[in-house]
Each structure stands twice: as C-alpha cells, then as structure tokens.
C-alpha cells in the first residue's frame, strides 16, 4: 500500500529529519508509529501523500512512485489528518469543509452532496452540516476532520497524534471509529506517544528515533524490550509495567490482563 525505500529528508534549513527510512504498510493493517518528540514522525507522515517529497529515496503508493503527475490520485488514496484540527477545518461551515476534498476531485454536485452526507453519518455527526466550524467541541472537530478525509474515499487513513488534546471519552470514541473504518477495509496508520493506545489497538508498531526506524515488530515485542524503551525515551504501557518481572507472558491488553489476574488469584 505505502512503501518507503531508503528515504532521506532534509528540511530547507539543513536539518536532517529522516535518515534512511525503509518502511511498508500493507493493505488492511493497523500500524502505529511511535517515537519521542522530534524523532521525525510527523515528517514521515507528510511523505505518505506527497506533501513533502524525499530529498533522496522513493515513496510509493499502490506501487506507484509519487510524482507531480499522480499527486491528486495519491492524495485521494491516502487521507492525512493533522494534529491540530483548527489547521484542517478551514471553512466557516462544517458541510463546506467536508465538501472541500470531493470538490477538488472534480466530482459533480450530487455526488459531493452524497459523500458529505455519508461521511458525516459514518463519523456520527449527522445533522452537523450547517454548524459553525469554530463553535463545535474538540472531539467533534476531530470527527469533522476525519469526515473531510472519508468523503474522498481513501484506501489508507493516516492520523498524526489522533488522541492528543481529546478528553478520554472523545478519545475512546475516536479509537472505536478507527476500528470501524478498519473493519470497512481501510488501512490505518497513526503516529502517537500514547503507548497504552498502541498496545490496545495496533497490530504492528514502528519505533522511530533520530530519523531512523529502530524497531518494526508487534507491540508485545517492542514494549517488552526495556533497552529499546529506555533508549527511545518511551515508557512501556501500564499493563507491561504492572506485570513486568511477575510473569513471563505479559498480557498485551487490559482485557488480557484481567483474564491473567483472574487465573492468578485464588478463588
């Protein structure tokens, strides 16, 4: 679906942000990109739909190298959701914002209207069409931003820090939504600091540090490696911290942990 082949990227001021990234996301995967601040997560995400083009190396989407010519198709196929929703929702009215992407795809009015309606329904914001963008809550803004991407019918949904600045309920509701989308066949890639979310949600985790991918494995492998956690300034998820040193097979989710505890405690 998305392939990075030894991608290097230097910012205009000369800062090297990506130093040889080899990275793949396959169709239907749920992948999390973790790493400390400044490790290059956001820069990597900006390469997934051609907002930034690599200084050297290649990024391919659906087997096609990203070039100026196929940018529109790449941006249709890979939907990118930014961390700050106020950057993403720039139309004064919700329906206009969701319609922005489909209109850029050159669809006719009826199709645009249908997609706006369907996208808002999918994120659970039916009836929000005429609402003002600056008078909806943070969680709702995130969903509007997501609807704006879904209206373009992407194959891959990429989110930068999806749960940052959201209250727990909104964060849960967003994660449920991502699972729903995954069940609908979408590939989902997120960048985050929230290791608890990663171990509950992701099938695969890529640990980014200093512009290179230092580990690409299952969440269980990554989080049970104390050296990796320490060197990349990450903290293992709560379940790992509780069970570490107590049992060998550390449960990966809270549900698993509860099960383990039931088995360990005498009736």
């Amino acid at each position: 679906m998305i392939e990075f082949e030894s991608v290097f990227y230097n910012y205009p001021d000369g800062t090297a942000a990506l130093k040889g990234i080899d990275f793949r996301v396959e169709k239907g995967e749920k992948v999390a990109l973790v790493g400390p601040n400044g490790s290059g997560k956001s820069t990597l995400l900006l390469h997934t739909n051609g907002i930034l083009l690599p200084t050297s190396g290649a990024v391919k989407v659906n087997g096609q190298l990203i070039t100026q010519k196929n940018l529109k198709e790449v941006r249709r196929a890979v939907g990118l959701i930014f961390q700050d929703c106020d950057d993403q929702i720039f139309s004064p009215m919700v329906c206009d914002d969701v319609a922005f992407g489909p209109m850029n795809l050159g669809l006719n009015r009826e199709e645009v209207a249908r997609r706006v309606k369907d996208a808002l329904e999918l994120v659970g914001l039916t009836g929000y069409e005429q609402r003002s963008s600056h008078h909806i809550s943070g969680g709702e803004k995130k969903k509007v931003a997501l609807a704006g991407i879904l209206a373009m019918d992407p194959d891959v949904i990429v989110l930068d820090e999806p749960t940052a600045n959201l209250d727990p309920e909104s964060a849960d509701s967003l994660v449920n939504l991502l699972n729903d989308l995954h069940n609908l066949g979408k590939t989902v890639l997120i960048a985050t600091h929230e290791v608890d979310l990663v171990c509950e949600w992701a099938e695969r985790v890529c640990v980014l540090h200093g512009g290179t991918i230092v580990k690409d494995c299952t969440p269980a492998e990554a989080f049970s490696d104390p050296d990796l956690m320490h060197s990349t300034k990450l903290r293992p998820p709560v379940v790992y911290r509780i069970f570490e040193g107590i049992i060998n097979q550390i449960p990966t989710t809270i549900a698993n942990a509860r099960e383990k505890l039931r088995m360990l405690t005498p009736k």
């Binding site: 900006l46 739909n49 907002i51 529109k72 941006r75 249709r76 939907g79 990118l80 930014f82 700050d84 106020d86 950057d87 993403q88 720039f90 139309s91 004064p92 009215m93 206009d96 319609a99 922005f100 992407g101 209109m103 850029n104 795809l105 009015r109 645009v112 209207a113 003002s132 963008s133 600056h134 704006g148 991407i149 373009m152």
Partner: protein, 251 residues
C-alpha cells in the same frame, strides 16, 4: 474561549432571514446609495424608520442593532464635528477660530446620519444572513473567489488568533507583568504582537498543507447553487421602490 458571532442573530428564522442573500446584498447596496445621496433630514429619518421596520419584522433586537451601528460614531462623529465648526454661515456660537453655524449643524447632522444609516443597513444584512451564506452569495454575484476565500479565512481564524493572543496575555499576567517597569512591559507587548504574527504565519503554512492533503490544486471551487424565488424578487423590489418613493417625496 467563547466569542460572540460576527453574524449574531443570523441563525434566527424570519421573513427577512429567508430572503435570498443575493437579493439582500443588492438591496443593501442600492439602499446605501440612495441614503447617502439624501440631502434632506426628513427623508433620512423616513429611511431610518423603514430600516427599523425591517429590523422589527426580522425579530433582531432593536437595542442591539442601535448599539452595533454605533461603532460608526467616533469616525463619523469627528468628521461631523469638524464640519459643524468650520462651515461658514450664520453663527450660533463663536470661539477663537471656531464658528458654530446653523448651516454647519445641518451639514454635520446630514453627514452623521447618512454614515449611521449606512452602517445600520449593513448590520441589518449581517444579522439576518449567515456569514457563509453571505460569502456564497457574493461568489454568485461574481466577486472573485480569491477575495471571498480571503474573507472566509479571516472569518474562520479571527477567533483562533484572538484566543492565541489571549493565551499570551495570560502567560504574561502569570509572570506578574503588572509589577514590571514601563519599558519592560512595552517590550513584552511588542514581543506578543510579533509572536501572534509568527504564529499566524506558521498556521498559514499548516493550513496550506492540509489543503494540499485534500487535493487542493490552486483552483477554488464554489459550493452549490441557490435558487432565487419570485418571493425574493418581490420583497427586494418592494423594499427598493418604497425607499426610492420616500426619498423622492421628501426631497
């Protein structure tokens, strides 16, 4: 943080609210042209009453409308004052080089009321039409999309920047800026202004990226068509005809 709508009361439902925005914009333009050419105070009062009547129909609170239109007082007021004191004629009161004349007072009053009525008309337009609808209507009236999208971005982000400025003010207050020397306070204020500018610039970059991410290629697409009904035309023509009649009769 909560801010007042620029287009407060525009989401209410009334006969005036339902009129097509294009018709309203054209009516407002014609009305302002008529009102600013009136040379008779009675005709001005009459057109003011017509507008007030429309406000009553639209169920927008009159007191709020008067206050909102009052922002013009410092500007129009100062010009009117200069006029009142400098026009030659039969003096009412005189001091040093300043002469208050009855001709001056009449001219000043006309100038002031014309300016006030113009703003009052715009208040009527913005309080009975939602801002995005107004922009869509301007687009349909062939205003270049570049201009309407600039206005649209301003409307969308003005509160985001106000919030940012407020956060910076709070950060300064939290560090006891009141206790600092005048020079230091001044320098802190200058830095705040600079910071808001830099942040606006950076946000602009991020917004542009997010537009690119959704396939933006430089062409601004406008939203769907709105139909003008006979009822809209009728309301517009009646309003303009009535005002024109008043101004002619009272000339």
């Amino acid at each position: 943080m909560r801010h007042d709508f620029i287009d407060k009361y525009s989401d209410r439902n009334s006969t005036v609210h339902r009129i097509d925005a294009r018709v309203k914009i054209i009516c407002v333009l014609i009305f302002i042209t008529l009102a600013t050419s009136i040379m008779n105070i009675y005709a001005l009062i009459a057109s003011f009453s017509v507008l007030t009547g429309v406000f009553v129909v639209s169920r927008v609170p009159l007191k709020w409308a008067f206050l909102k239109a009052s922002i013009v007082i410092p500007f129009a007021g100062s010009f009117a004052l200069i006029k009142a004191l400098t026009i030659a004629g039969s003096p009412i009161f005189s001091w040093w080089v300043l002469n208050l004349t009855s001709e001056g007072v009449t001219t000043a009053a006309l100038l002031f009321f014309r300016a006030y009525i113009s703003v009052y008309t715009v208040v009527l337009l913005t309080s009975t039409t939602r801002f995005p609808t107004l922009l869509a209507a301007l687009e349909k009236l062939k205003v270049p999309p570049l201009i309407t999208s600039m206005v649209s971005f301003t409307y969308r982000y003005i509160f985001v920047f106000t919030d940012e400025a407020e956060r910076l003010e709070r950060a300064k207050a939290a560090k006891c800026i009141e206790g600092a020397q005048y020079r230091l306070r001044l320098s802190a204020s200058a830095k705040t202004i600079g910071l808001v500018f830099i942040r606006a610039y950076e946000r602009g970059e991020r917004i542009y990226r997010s537009m690119l991410a959704r396939g933006f290629d430089g062409t601004i697409n406008t939203s769907d068509a709105i139909e003008i009904t006979r009822h809209d035309i009728f309301a517009g023509v009646t309003f303009i005809a009535f005002t024109a009649l008043l101004t002619i009769v009272l000339r």
